[in-house]
């Protein structure tokens, strides 16, 4: 190799990009919105559920659009499943707010509007973080949580491998 006084810093040759790739929709589209909180039930059985809408073009998800209703304890279930079965560090959920569930409060406790909004935001952050993780996407529990109407707590945990 001949000695050069000044190094050659010209760019390496690159394949020109296909314009449909450059301007088309990206292959990483994944959006999950949590909205429309609704409090149902009476007394002890009272709880708030949230609508969870998912839109994606990732091939690993069976449905490109899905809409389900979930409550806080469903999120807790998902977190536990992932912590047990996958190697990922699961992000934190918004707080359990046990203090808010004590009696003799001046406000609505866990059904207070501002608290519900705070919780909604935290859950939205949580699920978007998880759903985009390549390892979490392999877990059956995540797919069931996002795209099936009800969560079957007696399901068989496991990985999901596309054939």
């Amino acid at each position: 190799m001949s000695e050069a006084a000044v190094a050659d810093t010209r760019r390496l040759n690159a394949k020109p990009q296909d314009l449909t790739d450059a301007y088309g929709p990206p292959s990483n589209f994944l959006e999950i919105d949590i909205f429309n909180p609704q409090t149902v039930g009476m007394g002890r059985a009272r709880y708030t559920s949230y609508e969870l809408r998912m839109r994606t073009n990732l091939p690993i998800f069976k449905l490109k659009e899905s809409c389900v209703r979930r409550r806080y304890s469903d999120f807790e279930w998902l977190k536990n499943e992932l912590e047990r079965d996958s190697k990922i560090v699961v992000p934190p959920l918004p707080g359990k707010a046990l203090k808010r569930q004590l009696p003799f409060r001046g406000d609505e406790g866990i059904f207070e509007e501002s608290f519900i909004e705070e919780r909604r935001q935290g859950l939205e952050q949580f699920i978007n973080k998880i759903a985009g993780h390549p390892l979490a996407q392999n877990e059956r529990c995540l797919h069931m949580f996002l795209q099936e109407e009800t969560i079957d707590r007696n399901y068989v945990p496991g990985k999901l491998f596309l054939s």
Binding site: M1, E3, A5, A7, D8, T9, R10, R11, L12, A14, K15, Q17, D18, D21, A22, G24, P26, S27, N28, L30, L58, P59, I60, N128, K129, G132, H133, P134, Q137, L162
Partner: protein
């Protein structure tokens, strides 16, 4: 003390000095030597009170190259050890100098001061005395030079996470000199994650110890962002990283079976949730000898003469070349 001892090398006026970091992290200048060079100089004794007698049990000077592991300071591993006796036991009544020469000294390794190990070369003058010896040391720095490697293939690889992220990365060489430029590119084949930015890091790994007691110390020397934003399939991101701006040493492999210093390029992609995806690749660094540069004015004079074609400047031609030129006219 009533006297003052000093070591100095000859050619101190002309010899280049280079910066080298001390163990504490301070930058100091030392004389630069290469393998095979002679190390010569003198030990100088200056008596503060002339005519006062100074007894001694002998004077010697040593040239030493040694490796020091910080966790095992008691054991110095000397790989070069030369000694010259300068004076037999006696006494001094006046200031004196003692010349020495270590001819064509082998200096097989480059001076290195690291996190857990140090390799140094130094002259040590010892004046033996009944109670305590006087010891004076003078450190020098040694650089090991290489020439352009005959074989220097590029590094090109396809890596990724199944169905998630596939990239092809390419670096133009596998061996770079310390003032070189890394020219490369990253080509995206599949992007199903939301990438926020991409950077290339230079990592230095210092390995000390052997067998079950191997210890790796990783240090990120540089972080250089090469892409900000979300790439899509078919995108090519160029890399141009100038090494001269960073504190690098040549790659040192298994020096005297005591330590190694190796360098890695770490390509890091970070997604919107701060998840990191990376691929590490070793590169070999080597030290190129400096070209002796003529002064700018001398070069300019040559250039202008060639352009004007003055007859006063004639390039040396072989007889066949001259004949060819004459026949063309």
């Amino acid at each position: 003390m009533s006297e003052h001892w000093e070591i100095m090398t000859f050619d101190a006026e002309s010899r280049r000095r280079v910066e080298h970091k001390t163990e504490e992290g301070k930058k100091e200048k030392y004389f630069l030597f290469y393998d095979g060079e002679t190390v010569s100089g003198r030990v100088i004794l200056t008596l503060k009170h002339p005519n006062k007698r100074l007894e001694h049990q002998g004077i010697k000077v040593e040239f030493i190259g040694q490796i020091e592991l910080y966790y095992d300071r008691g054991n110095h591993h000397e790989f070069v050890s030369l000694v010259k006796d300068l004076a037999r036991p006696g006494e001094f009544t006046q200031s004196q100098t003692f010349d020495f020469e270590f001819t064509h000294v082998e200096k097989p390794y480059e001076s290195y001061t690291g996190q857990n190990v140090k390799l140094r070369y130094f002259l040590r003058a010892t004046v033996s005395r009944r109670l305590n010896d006087v010891v004076k040391e003078m450190d020098i720095v040694v650089h090991t030079l290489s020439t352009y490697p005959e074989l220097n293939s590029s590094i090109k690889m396809e890596v990724g996470i199944e169905d998630c992220l596939h990239i092809e990365f390419e670096y133009n060489k596998s061996k770079y000199h310390l003032k070189d430029v890394i020219v490369g590119k990253i080509y995206f084949l599949l992007v199903r994650i939301k990438i926020k930015h991409m950077e290339i890091d230079i990592i230095k790994r210092e390995t000390t110890g052997t067998g079950p007691n191997v210890y790796h110390e990783n240090d990120t020397i540089a972080k250089y962002e090469i892409m900000d934003g979300a790439p899509v399939r078919g995108e090519s991101i160029p890399i141009r990283l100038f090494l001269a701006g960073y504190e690098l040493t040549p790659t040192m492999r298994d020096i005297n079976k005591k330590f190694s210093v190796r360098y890695y390029l770490n390509l890091v992609l970070i997604d919107e949730e701060e998840r990191r995806y990376f691929k590490q690749q070793e590169v070999v660094l080597w030290r190129k000898g400096d070209i002796v540069r003529k002064s700018m004015s001398h070069q300019a004079a040559i250039a202008s003469q060639r352009f004007e074609g003055t007859s006063s400047h004639t390039e040396a031609k072989t007889p066949s070349q001259t004949a060819e030129n004459n026949s063309r006219q």
